[in-house]
């Protein structure tokens, strides 16, 4: 993105790709083709993240949404896609209802985006004291434009916010109240995932049935 010169060619390309993919998902009737267009749409969103220097979010988008979810989707589709389930017919009522919900959601997003004063926000970011930035640009580390987009996120997930705390003036008693990171949400998410994993393993385990007469498991 070139700031003043408007969006770059690649930004427009990926934006068009994500919108066209999303529209094609809605318009196509075949489940696997929908999955393909979903790949196009989600992959273009990942491309937009890369253009905004958000490498980690972009790679996660590729790995989790494009790679993981769509593989599982295709997996499920291939097990079920036969005869009546291959094409999904929609009744007019369904079309009307989902179009209404989609239009409302679009209106909400448009109004939200329109409510932000982007010029003022850009000036605020530019005004921030560069000395208060994270200790990422020292000798041996890359500048953000060269791919250093991970350290601030990693530090914040570990509960440290050097981008906020470094270079701050100490308070009256000579101490700084440190900003909090995202260690607690991060840990909650990991425990949640662990619970889901154990639950899935419990549900998917081989069930043993008892034979009534002999009492032996079969």
């Amino acid at each position: 993105m070139n700031g003043d010169q408007g969006p770059s060619f690649l930004t427009l390309l990926f934006a068009a790709g994500s919108c066209a993919g999303a529209i094609a998902v809605v318009l196509s009737r075949n489940v696997v083709r929908m999955a393909f267009w979903l790949i196009v749409s989600l992959g273009s969103v990942a491309g937009l993240f890369f253009l905004l220097h958000a490498d980690f979010v972009g790679a996660t988008q590729l790995l989790i949404y494009v790679g993981g979810t769509v593989v599982l989707l295709i997996f499920g589709v291939m097990l079920t896609a036969s005869g009546p389930l291959l094409k999904i017919p929609t009744s007019p009522a369904e079309t009307f209802l989902s179009a209404g919900i989609g239009a409302l959601f679009l209106a909400m997003i448009v109004s939200t985006v329109g409510a932000v004063d982007w010029k003022a926000a850009a000036e605020t970011i530019a005004r921030q004291d560069p000395a208060a930035g994270p200790p990422v640009s020292g000798e041996g580390y890359n500048a953000p434009e060269e791919g250093n987009t991970l350290r601030p996120i990693g530090a914040a997930l570990l509960g440290v916010r050097p981008d906020r705390d470094l270079g701050r003036e100490p308070g009256p008693n000579g101490s700084i109240a440190l900003s909090t990171g995202y260690l607690l949400p991060f840990e909650i998410a990991s425990v949640h995932l662990l619970v889901v994993l154990i639950g899935a393993a419990y549900l998917a385990r081989a069930k043993r049935r008892r034979d009534r007469d002999s009492g032996e498991s079969i």
């Binding site: 490498d55 972009g58 000798e139 050097p162």
Partner: protein
């Protein structure tokens, strides 16, 4: 995403010699670099197909290709390519035409995309990313989409079976692949492939990650096994299994589209081998400290020859290092070929069992081990490396991170120039922070730590 430093300097050259506008020169320079990268991606299969025929021939007590291009059949790959281009492009009537035509491209693009973040030498990389390994695995995991779509859209039962097997195999083998990739990364503390390469400078023993500790040593073999399975190579090539499924997912394909699948396969074989070379085998370094130092001393020679920031010496040094890296990766590809023609194919249940019952627990145990290793070493020996004899053979990993002044100078010149031209919105504030001396940052950091400690008291 990143400053494409090489693209910028080539763009400068075009701008100065032909007087084009900066936007066009950037596009042209990016095109030139992409074509160079595609050449590597296209020539690798050409060579490896010949190698595969030759190695399989020798293993089976045959001669392999002997006619095309002299005694050793050097041009067999080219002959194969020409033959495949001439063939008719068939689409079965039962197939889903659009997806059938699209699937080879997805597989090919996913495999090729991984080369974006792969450095070929220090600084010779299209996209510098601090999450390089993660991004590379993320892109590479998309190859399976092409295979599954091919299997589904062919409208053939053989293909569907092949696609299903590939899906099951990939979903399970990605877990040990990621875990094994993490094992050296836990020891190194970075995901940046360039930094990973730089950290393994010096003598191969004990500076290469494979010799770092017993866990990384074992992890290399697990990683290589899993990576072989990830490229659906024999003995894990259940997706094609020509003795059962005719050709598996590519049964219905012919000509160029079939070739795209093979380009993707050989491309990703080379890619995972190069990643294995980076994670375990010292990246672009030869492993002989004096030789590496000699090549490094070429850097900075003949600076600013054609354009500002370009150095002939650095170019030659990078070229030598690239040859070293490509040699390492090719040797690993040869091992993959050797394994393919030596071991029989596993059954699908055996493939799953190998992954979930053996490789996965092994990689988990190795991961735990490598996490505990520094603690063990510090308590038992009181130092950070297993061997510190002779003196100076192994420096602590962290000391090897900072990049040399020469390389960062070159990058800085390019970055400042691109910022001046307004090609990217490289903020000048970020640049001044980049020049902040390390010592000052350390002081600032330590003052923060002391003051926060004071606050806690």
């Amino acid at each position: 995403m990143s400053v494409l430093a090489a693209v910028d300097s080539l763009g400068d050259l075009f701008e100065e010699t032909w007087g084009l506008s900066s936007g066009w020169t950037l596009a042209l320079a990016a095109f030139v670099h992409a074509v160079i990268l595609i050449q590597l991606f296209a020539v690798a299969p050409l060579v490896f197909v010949w190698l595969e025929r030759k190695v399989s021939g020798r293993i089976q007590d045959r001669l392999g290709p002997t006619r095309v291009g002299g005694r050793f059949g050097w041009l067999q790959g080219l002959a194969d390519g020409i033959k495949l281009i001439q063939k008719e492009d068939l689409v079965p009537t039962a197939a889903d035409g659009m997806l059938f035509r699209m699937a080879p491209y997805i597989a090919c693009v996913a495999s090729f995309g991984g080369f974006m973040v792969l450095p070929f030498a220090d600084g010779w990389v299209a996209v510098v990313s601090d999450i390089g390994v993660f991004l590379l695995f993320g892109i590479l995991s998309l190859e399976v989409l092409g295979i599954i779509l091919a299997g589904y859209s062919s409208g053939s039962k053989w293909s569907l079976f092949g696609g299903m097997r590939e899906a099951a195999q990939m979903v399970s083998y990605e877990i040990p692949l990621a875990l094994c990739g993490l094992i050296p990364i836990v020891a190194l503390g970075t995901l940046n492939l360039g930094d990973i390469g730089r950290m393994q400078s010096g003598w191969l023993f004990p500076n290469w990650m494979i010799f770092h500790d017993p866990f990384t040593f074992l992890a290399f073999f697990v990683f290589f096994t899993v990576a072989t399975a990830g490229c659906k190579r024999a003995p894990f090539d259940l997706a094609e299994a020509e003795s059962e499924l005719v050709g598996g997912f590519h049964t219905e394909y012919s000509g160029m589209r079939w070739m795209f699948f093979y380009m993707a396969e050989y491309g990703s074989m080379f890619l995972v081998s190069a990643v294995a070379a980076y994670l375990f085998l010292g990246g672009w370094h030869t492993g002989l400290a004096p030789l590496d130092a000699g090549i490094e001393s070429l850097r900075g020679f003949g600076r600013n020859t054609i354009v500002e920031g370009f150095s002939v010496g650095s170019y030659v040094a990078n070229l030598i290092f690239m040859v070293v890296l490509v040699t390492k990766a090719s040797l690993l590809v040869i091992v993959q070929i050797w394994v393919r023609w030596t071991l029989p194919r596993l059954r699908i249940d055996q493939v799953m069992q190998t992954c979930l019952k053996y490789l996965l627990p092994m990689s988990c145990a190795l991961f735990l081990g490598v996490a505990v290793w520094p603690l063990l070493l510090a308590n038992a020996l009181g130092r950070t490396s297993l061997i510190d004899w002779p003196e100076g053979w192994s420096r602590p990993l962290g000391e090897r991170v900072p990049r040399r002044a020469a390389a960062s100078d070159e990058l800085r010149v390019t970055r400042v120039r691109s910022a001046e031209r307004g090609v990217r919105n490289a903020e000048p504030s970020g640049d001044s922070a980049f020049r902040t001396p390390h010592s000052e940052l350390v002081t600032r950091h330590s003052s923060l730590v002391t003051s926060s400690n004071g606050g806690a008291r």
